[in-house]
Amino acid sequence: MPPELHTYQTSLSANIIQFGRFLRSKGYSIGPQEESDALNALGFLSMRKEDLFRQALKTVFSKNFYQFAQFEDLYREFWSELDRAQDSKLKKKQDKKTLQQSSLRKELKFQALKDWLNLNPSEEEQPTASYSDLEVLSRKNFSDLSPDEMELILSALKRIAKRLAHQKSRLRKRTKKSSHLDMKQTVRLNMRTGGEIQRLVFSEKKERKLKLVLLCDVSRSMELYSRFFVHLIYAFQNAYDKIETFVFSTALHQVSEILKNHEFGKAFAMISERVPQWSGGTTIGSCLMDFTTTHAHNLLDKKTIVFILSDGWDTGDHQSMENAMSVIYKKSKKVIWLNPLAGSPNFSPEVLGMKTALPYLDLLAPAHNLKSLKQALYLAQRRRNLTTSPVFSQNFH
């Protein structure tokens, strides 16, 4: 067995450490453990073959799929930089400089995204030493995503949806899992053997089965977001069993079936086809009225959370909207209005449609990026609270 390489203070080991630091700045979680693993691993290999060297570092340093896929590029970036450096001192300085520059560039890119639509106050974001892809994405505006990023966000959403679906109730039921001993039932069961405890009874919390109803606005004012929202409801529809989805602009359309049975591209095309006023005007009031008269009686009950995804721009009659909202509010467990515009710092529910709906909402939350959406969904799990105002405030932690 060769001696442990990291006992020598060689320039190679220094470079490996440097490389580890470089990767750390790119979001890899690398500590002394990984670095010493890498050095040990190299001790087992012949140094003459470069691809072995790269492969070994890749195996040790990357810890998830994204890091694994990204590794080759970063590897090339770092070692070519190192090649160019004349001597080690110069190299160190350069390294630092390039690091700073690259993080600066990132920061700028970040800033540009942030300023897009001017939705996020700039002090909200603190540059962090390391961050995962998802963390960055969760602050990006939804109207500004590439398909790959969309994929990533949707998988995150699926996870949230699953969590929402598997909520625990306070009631307990019997189970085989030996997690929580149910003393009362144990004693009762063992009465038949004269009180001698031979069998144990375990219990776990019952699952609370929530139902969801999604009402999504696809009118022109929502155009920037509606494609994303359809993505979102698609993800929800496929992660969650008890869900009914509607889209509306000037008329209401039930789309659950389409979303459930088709692959996304096709579903999207079919929905756009079925909804002739896609990206047209909005009459929220009459659509909601339509919902209450035809669907509310069999879809809404006290286990159902209603999500309305809309910006509240309404060209219809506000009286019918008020009537509809009050019916929905009374019949459901919770009503949550997700408004993409509410992410803006100077947003206030001034639009008539929004104003009318406000008394009948449990929560009015922004949904312009993943972070806000996560928070809204988190709040959705809580009980209805009658004392607090439904308006989602900016300083929400």
Binding site: E34, D37, F44, V60, K63, N64, H262
Partner: protein, 296 residues
């Protein structure tokens, strides 16, 4: 010397009928050398589980498998006290009139301990291969629970104390990314991502697993599968489907694909009716890309 060892691993795998590549060989090699667990992720049906099995065979070690599922807990993975046995033992001893203090000492003895896979692997008389399959299906609590085992190779049983490993088992964890695993678990492992194989590798796999298949047929099957994976399907077929299909076609003594045949046997490859319908619609185009002449 070391390079030879790396080559040896590839050879070892080939002998067992597993076609590996540089990345796989390197991860397995380092996992053995550094004595660290190896976390393997990738889409379904690319041979993640197979790695563990082949390793066990190649190392001539015992193979211990723990299939994860939702609700898996320590009593199924680690150990459990044989409660009924303990009770019986107590009853019998009571009749002998033993002192309760003495009794208490005997009750948590080894013979009442039911060893589950993880504890089995740790206390195994020789080095074993432990496969923790589909770890992402287990709950997060279970994952945290594995941490002690994977980093210190020991298990703490409150009644007995800490049991340390006699031999560090060679551990393989597999996952499908249905759930993101915790950072803590990842940090204790080496990582390997296996993707769908490229044409050459897939062909090599088919050759090694289905030697009876016609050469031309093998090529066509692999080319077709490569194209099929480009389509957006609900369930993308893996390598195991390719092998099944090649085997099925070979058993019919066919020498090449044709449209009718593909349509009839699509059920071997695709397991979702929407996928089947979609593929049927696009079949001519797919076959054209594959280079199969339609004979109409």
């Amino acid at each position: 010397m070391p390079q030879k060892e790396l080559a040896e691993i590839q050879e070892m795998f080939r002998e067992q009928g597993y076609i590996s590549d540089d990345a796989i060989a390197m991860s397995v090699y380092l996992a053995m050398k550094l004595e660290k667990p190896l976390l393997v992720e990738g889409p379904a049906g690319v041979g993640k589980t197979e790695i563990g099995k082949v390793m066990a065979k190649a190392m001539e070690a015992d193979f211990i498998r723990l299939q994860c599922y939702e609700g898996l807990d320590s009593t199924h993975a680690l150990y459990e006290w044989n409660y009924q046995h303990q009770l019986l033992h107590l009853k019998m001893q009571e009749q002998k009139g033993l002192d309760p203090k003495q009794l208490e000492a005997t009750i948590f003895a080894d013979k009442f301990l039911l060893k589950r896979p993880v504890l089995q692997a740790i206390t195994h008389p020789k080095k074993a291969v432990l496969l923790i399959d589909e770890i992402d299906r287990a709950d997060e609590e279970f994952e945290s629970f594995l941490l002690e085992v994977l980093s210190d190779w020991q298990v703490t049983i409150p009644e007995i104390g800490t049991i340390s490993a006699t031999h560090k088992p060679q551990t393989i964890l597999t996952g499908n990314r249905t759930r993101e695993l915790s950072e803590a678990l990842r940090r204790r492992c080496l990582y390997l991502w296996i993707d769908y194989p490229d044409f050459a590798k897939e062909l090599a796999i088919v050759r090694s697993k289905v030697p009876e298949a016609d050469e031309n047929l093998g090529k066509q099957v692999c080319a077709f599968m490569q194209e099929l994976r480009q389509m957006k399907l609900e369930k993308t077929p893996g390598v195991s489907e390719t092998i099944d299909w090649a085997r099925a076609l070979a058993s019919m003594h066919l020498k090449h694909l044709d449209k009718q045949l593909v349509e009839d046997t699509l059920g071997v490859v695709l397991k979702d009716w929407q996928d089947i319908r979609k593929t049927q619609d696009a079949l001519s185009e797919l076959l054209e890309k594959t280079g199969v002449e339609s004979r109409l």
